[in-house]
């Protein structure tokens, strides 16, 4: 019996109060009527089951009723409904969009089984905490290590394949046999690489990405076993397709389209000098039970030993074991945290506004609620209805918010760092939707509670008393606090957005060292061995440059190994200058290196890199002439400060070079990074078959008008000279430089949008608060006007409160914004967190916000006719 009464608590309280006693007595009778223990047990069981079922149904009945009622009342105040839904939609939309990115980048486990056991292996030297591995050091490390269940190395690789009659170039990676088993993913078709596939001299094998399989091979399952001729950066080979990886497999970066094997040769592994050739990315799976720290400790011992054995090549070299999940620059992490905080601010402001709206509405409906309470609606029913209302509003808003996020998320894909082995475009998936729904439910419940909390005090007779002025001090204080929070949060967002905009402007105004406008660029992927000989390449350059320069509007054109700011492909080589005492004696000292770039005549002119001394490289700099170099100013400052460098000699790229010219420095690593000094060598002054990786393949063409207009003719010129050469990365120099700051531009846009939303919300909040206050004080204002108050007194009455809120909000907001600015200093590219312009703009905008929010209520207060106001009572 007691159990049955307990079960009755499943019913809504109103229902239980109404019928609980009767139901209990019916149950008691049935129990009495049952003849024996078995029958009694059956009665109990069936009663329990039907109670659970019916209780749920009663709840549904009430919900349906409440929804009908709520919809009816909302239809009567559409302005309120629309505002509330819009608030929730924007708040949830912003938060969900940012969460979808944050989740993919920071939270979600990587798409590999037991991915928490996956670690990256790096070498370290002073100044470089994450340097690629050298092949012999990796081999020796794994030979002595016991921490890892398996391991492997990879390096990026590009492959030109002729498909559809035209050569196409794809980015991928060369993997050692251990990589795919270490990641724990099996091919969806075919097989993974074996040790035999990876042996020196083994026939070429290739595994396709799902995307490449779909786009170039039509998703044909019989592709396994097919052979493709491919041109890699410095050699050609025939590859047998042995597998296709699943769609969600991305490694080492999001955009890898294929995988081949490393097939290290003895000359990759044996010479001691190879120990300072750092070019491999290491991945390993920790043995079960082994922690990253243990593996790190072991690596330190291993490398102490390697330093002792190869003191010159491994000078100061150590090793680092990093969780794969953490392969993320602190800046990416910080950025996402900042955006998450900003999104949370937007949601907070939206919720404050919503709570304010609901409060105001509850006050307006005081009488209605009091009447309904008086005619017998239980408090519980009223609470239920209010919560139903706020949940309904939140639900509709949340659904719209998810819609907004779905639209917005693709725009945020710039924020996903490409270093992580995940798809680069986040999507609004089930996980994100669940997050949004939870957020919505919490929003609806917590902020729907604000008016509910008042209900207990409001449903007494007070509410019935007509005209009782709801001076309600505490109520207005609560709303003021809500608005104050909105102002503070919007000030923080305004300042943060301002700081990031200033940082973007600062970076965009950084001079890259060349003139970005009116230049078209492309890469002609000259295959080797076909173009291994200098004379072959020279013929190609002469023909293409001749044809291109003959095009109308072309001002200058030239080839270089790698264009600045595009993907940095290495080429940092040691410099030896006779008598240079500052150089360290190890093989990879950071202070005596320079960027190696081969160029054809015309390149420096095409880029408008200023020549400050001497001459450019020229057609006369041929194989049989002394080898020359054009160096950048920072190179001169490093080796011959204050002296004339022309005619000086240094040792670089396997030979002696004479300085013939000095040019301005170029930010070849990107606008936000430090770049090494640059050395430009004539394309013709290199031996056949030597470092063909650096043979100039990138073409820069300066034109008088629009660079894209000439694109077809320039493409035709390249194909006219070499029909089988793939043309890639065709774009304007301006686009290339813009791409360098694209993720920053996205940050600014996102934060700017958040700040704008916050600004509008806060203004609406102030407006709502004051409008309500004015309508509540109509009578008081009327009396005062009747007693001789002047318009300015009325204005003062209304405005004083708003100004006070504005001033306090600004003071707190500015302080918090400074803290926020300090914590994201790393993102600010040198703009100080107390940047006067940003703070000034935020203060001015807040003033505008307060004025805009105050305007209408003040006008309304001024229009109050004392006679009407007093008579209304």
């Amino acid at each position: 019996m007691r159990l049955y009464r307990a079960l009755l608590f499943l019913y809504p309280a109103s229902f239980r109060r109404e019928y609980g006693e009767e139901m209990a007595s019916i149950f008691a009778r049935r129990l009495r009527d049952a003849s024996n223990t078995v029958a009694r047990a059956a009665v109990c069981l069936s009663a329990a089951l039907e109670t659970i079922g019916n209780a749920a149904l009663v709840h549904v009945d009430i919900l349906r009723q409440d929804l009908r009622y709520v919809l009816r009342t909302l239809k009567r105040s559409p302005g309120f409904a629309i505002t509330a839904v819009a608030l929730v939609a924007l708040g949830i939309g912003a938060t969900t969009a940012v969460f979808s990115v944050t989740d993919v980048v920071l939270i979600r486990p990587l798409p590999f089984p037991e991915s928490d056991r996956l670690v990256e292996l790096w070498e370290t030297t002073p100044g470089y905490s994450g340097m690629e591995l050298s092949a012999p050091n990796f081999r020796d490390w794994m030979a002595t290590s016991t921490s890892f269940a398996s391991a492997g190395v990879s390096h990026t690789e590009a492959l030109t394949i002729v498909t559809g009659g035209e050569p196409h170039r794809f980015d991928g990676a060369a993997l050692s046999a251990g990589v795919i088993p270490t990641l724990g993913v099996s091919p969806m078709l075919g097989r993974a690489f074996t040790e035999a596939d990876d042996a020196a001299g083994a026939p070429g094998t290739i595994i396709l990405s799902y995307r490449l399989w779909q786009t170039e091979f039509g998703g044909d399952p019989s592709v396994i076993g097919r052979r493709v001729d491919g041109q890699m950066d410095i050699e050609a080979d025939t590859f047998t397709i042995i597998g296709v990886m699943p769609r969600e497999f991305h490694y080492p970066t999001a955009d890898a389209e294929f995988w081949v094997t490393t097939r290290f040769r003895p000359d990759d592994l044996v010479p001691a000098i190879e120990r300072s050739n750092n070019w491999l990315n290491g991945i390993a799976r920790l043995r079960p039970g082994v922690t990253r720290e243990q593996a790190q400790a072991e690596a330190s011992v291993v490398f102490a030993n390697l330093r002792a054995r190869f003191p010159k090549e491994n000078k100061d070299t150590g090793a680092r074991v990093v969780a794969l999940r953490d392969d993320l620059s602190p800046r990416s992490r910080l950025l996402l945290k900042a955006l998450s905080a900003a999104a949370a601010c937007v949601l907070l402001i939206a919720c404050m506004n919503l709570a304010g709206l609901l409060l105001a509405r509850a006050l307006e409906r005081r009488r209605e609620l009091a009447v309904r309470a008086a005619i017998g609606a239980g408090r519980e029913r009223l609470v239920r209805q209010l919560i139903t209302e706020s949940l309904l509003l939140a639900g509709v808003g949340g659904a719209l918010g998810i819609g907004i996020a779905t639209v917005a998320v693709p725009l945020l894909s710039q924020l996903v760092p490409t270093t992580l082995p995940i798809a680069s475009a986040p999507t609004v998936d089930a996980r994100v939707v669940v997050f949004a729904l939870l957020l919505t439910a919490v929003t609806g419940l917590v902020f729907g509670m604000a008016p509910v909390a008042r209900l207990g005090r409001d449903t007494d007779v007070d509410g019935l008393r007509e005209g009782a002025r709801s001076g309600g001090g505490s109520r207005e204080r609560l709303r003021s606090a809500l608005v104050l929070t909105e102002i503070v949060a919007s000030v923080v967002l305004l300042v943060s957005a301002g700081l990031l905009i200033r940082a973007l402007l600062a970076i965009q105004s950084t001079r890259p060292g060349f003139d970005v406008d009116h230049v078209l660029t492309l890469r002609a992927e000259l295959p080797v061995p076909e173009y291994a000989r200098v004379v072959t390449r020279e013929a190609f350059y002469r023909r293409v440059l001749g044809d291109v320069r003959a095009l109308p509007g072309v001002r200058a054109a030239g080839f270089i190994s790698f264009l600045p700011i595009s993907k940095v492909r290495g080429g940092i080589w040691p410099v030896k200058v006779a008598g240079d005492v500052a150089a360290s004696d190890d093989a990879r000292g950071a202070n005596n290196v320079a960027a190696l770039r081969y160029v054809t005549p015309g390149y420096l002119a095409a880029m408008r890199i200023p020549l400050t001394r001497g001459r450019e490289v020229a057609d006369t700099d041929t194989q049989d002439r002394p080898f020359v170099a054009v160096v950048s100013e920072s190179f001169v400052n490093r080796y011959w400060p204050g002296q004339d460098p022309i005619g000086r000699h240094f040792d670089f790229a396997f030979g002696d070079r004479e300085v013939v010219g000095v040019v301005g420095d170029v930010k070849f690593r990107g606008l936000e990074r430090q770049s090494e000094p640059q050395v430009y060598l004539p394309a013709s002054q290199v031996k056949d078959n030597w470092i063909t990786f650096y043979a100039p393949r990138a073409l820069a063409v300066r034109v008088a008008g629009s660079p894209t207009a000439l694109a077809p003719s320039i493409r035709a010129a390249v194909h006219g000279a070499a029909p089988n050469v793939a043309i890639t990365e065709m774009q304007t120099l301006a686009d290339m430089v813009d791409a360098d700051t694209a993720s920053r531009a996205t940050q600014v846009r996102v934060l700017g949008a958040f700040a704008a939303i916050a600004f509008v919300f806060a203004a609406v909040g102030i407006h709502g608060l004051l409008s309500f206050a004015v309508s509540q004080r109509t009578q008081e204002i009327g009396v005062r006007v009747a007693l001789g108050a002047q318009p300015r007194d009325v204005v003062a009455m209304v405005v004083t409160g708003a100004i006070r809120l504005g001033v306090v909000g600004l003071a707190v907001g500015v302080a918090l914004a400074y803290v926020a600015g300090r914590s994201m200093e790393a993102l600010l590219a040198g703009v100080t967190p107390h940047d006067v312009a940003s703070f000034g703009a935020a203060v001015a905008l807040t003033a505008v916000m307060v004025i805009v929010g105050t305007l209408l209520p003040t006008l309304r207060a001024l229009q109050i006719d004392p006679i009407v106001a007093i008579r209304a009572e």
Binding site: F15, E18, E22, M23, I26, E50, N54, L57
Partner: protein, 120 residues
């Protein structure tokens, strides 16, 4: 068709429990347990309403105006202080009649196709 009949049409088809409860209170005011007993007797024990189903239906029927709780109580001898009695309203009667008509029509149609026995 009168206004009340048109209103009654909107309730059709009735849920079986609702129909049985209307039948139980059609001739006399009854309290909850009496309704359960009446339904069980009339159906030969085939339908035994559970307390939850009964009161959930009653609550809805009260809201819909099919039944009311009369103010006057039955004769003191029959009265039980704690009990609540229910009485059919004019609307409730109209709804019960409309449902009976609907069911009769269905039976007629079934009979025309030989799917129901001829009238005894």
């Amino acid at each position: 068709m009168s206004a009340i009949d048109r209103e009654a049409q909107a309730f059709l088809p009735l849920q079986p429990a609702t129909f049985h409860i209307l039948l139980a209170v059609a001739d006399d005011d009854r309290h909850g347990y009496a309704i359960i007993q009446d339904v069980a007797e009339r159906t030969g024990g085939a339908i035994r309403l559970s307390a939850g189903t009964l009161y959930r239906s009653i609550q809805r029927m009260l809201e819909q105006g099919l039944i009311v709780e009369p103010r006057e109580r039955p004769a003191p001898a029959d009265d039980d202080e704690r009990r609540r009695y229910y009485r059919i309203t004019a609307l409730g009667t109209a709804v019960a009649k409309a449902e009976a008509r609907r069911l009769a029509n269905l039976v007629k149609m079934a009979r025309a196709r030989g799917l129901a026995p001829e009238r005894a």
